[in-house]
């Protein structure tokens, strides 16, 4: 008997509290798989943000902490310096990371902290009920942008990977999508790469995952994925924005 696929050891047995079809669950699973495959569940500390994934401390099988909104990269900085042999990751939404947590994200990246940030971009504040996020698309509606996001007044969707990639120090930055099985397999590779780099103490890794929020988008799971493919991917193109390992190899 061979197990072809099974809930990974990186996750606990707890039922996820996300809405049906919400891709937070997929992101969790691939992180859980990567931890299992790299055999680092026992040496990893995960950081849950404030956002729908606030309860992530119940879902990942590694040591976990829940921290103030937006401050996960600072907490991770403290942790990785206190436990340099651990792998430390944060799991953050777009509000958490790209709004209130902007400074912490930018500076953790700039210090090349040996941490992984898994950044779930669903273009909305899920937890609090559908307010505008920094990544909300132009003209997209949100409860705090009831007439659609007016770019002239509220700004253009922030592209975090592109911005951070201008910094000199971060080690690895990639944007992936969770919108198809193929994309998910690629996303998994990126997640695993990030954690592997951390295990090897290479430095700062960030994997942004283009995701969905069926509930606050007011779409059923399938429709939300189609919508995201059509509308999110053009604004948030997938790709590797920085990979020092590759660069170093190339320059050899």
């Amino acid at each position: 008997m061979k197990i072809l696929a099974k809930r990974p050891k990186g996750l606990t047995d707890a039922r996820l509290t996300y809405c049906p079809g919400c891709l937070h669950g997929v992101a969790h699973r691939i992180i859980g798989e990567a931890m299992e495959e790299l055999d680092i569940v026992e040496k990893t500390i995960g950081i849950a943000p404030v956002g729908c994934s606030v309860f992530a401390y119940n879902f990942f099988a590694c040591d976990m902490i829940q921290v103030p909104h937006g401050r996960a990269p600072a907490v991770a900085t403290g942790m990785r310096r206190a436990q340099p042999d651990c792998v430390v990751f944060t799991y953050q939404g777009d509000g958490d990371l790209a709004a209130i947590g902007t400074a912490e994200t930018v500076h953790a990246a700039n210090r090349n902290e040996n941490i992984s940030i898994f950044f779930i971009n669903n273009a909305i504040y899920g937890m609090t009920g559908g307010q505008m996020a920094p990544t909300t698309l132009p003209n997209m509606r949100a409860t705090t942008a009831p007439y659609g996001r007016d770019v002239a007044d509220m700004g253009y969707p922030m592209r975090v990977c592109e911005m951070l990639a201008t910094l000199e120090t971060p080690y690895y930055i990639e944007r992936v999508s969770l919108l198809s099985p193929k994309d998910i397999l690629k996303a998994k590779k990126a997640v695993k790469k990030a954690l592997k780099y951390n295990k090897e103490k290479k430095g700062f890794c960030l994997v942004e995952m283009v995701s969905t929020c069926p509930t606050n988008w007011g779409l059923d799971p399938l429709a939300s994925i189609d919508w995201a493919k059509k509308n999110m991917l053009p604004v948030f193109p997938v790709g590797v924005f920085k990979d020092e390992a590759k660069r170093q190899e190339a320059s050899k």
């Binding site: 008997m1 061979k2 197990i3 072809l4 696929a5 099974k6 809930r7 990974p8 996750l11 039922r15 996820l16 996300y18 809405c19 049906p20 079809g21 919400c22 891709l23 937070h24 669950g25 997929v26 969790h28 699973r29 859980g32 198809s180 099985p181 998910i184 397999l185 059923d220 799971p221 399938l222 994925i225």
Partner: protein
């Protein structure tokens, strides 16, 4: 032979696996699970190739696929 199990405890009936399956052998069950969702079941275990695409798309880690040698 490949055996696919959907753990009803986890399944939220989102239907993503149904669409992902190239063999079109997954379907909602009639009954509701304790969460109030129609869980997914496999209509035709024999047709399952074990491609794991359903597992890959499932956000709730509800699917296990085992191959008997």
């Amino acid at each position: 032979m490949v055996t696919l199990t959907v753990d009803e405890h986890y399944c939220k009936g989102c239907g993503l696996c149904i669409v992902a399956c190239p063999k079109e052998i997954l379907q909602f069950a009639r009954h509701l699970n304790e969460q109030g969702y129609h869980p997914v079941t496999c209509l035709d275990q024999e047709a399952c190739t074990g491609c794991t695409l359903c597992y890959v798309t499932c956000p709730d880690g509800a699917i296990t696929i085992v191959k008997d040698k």
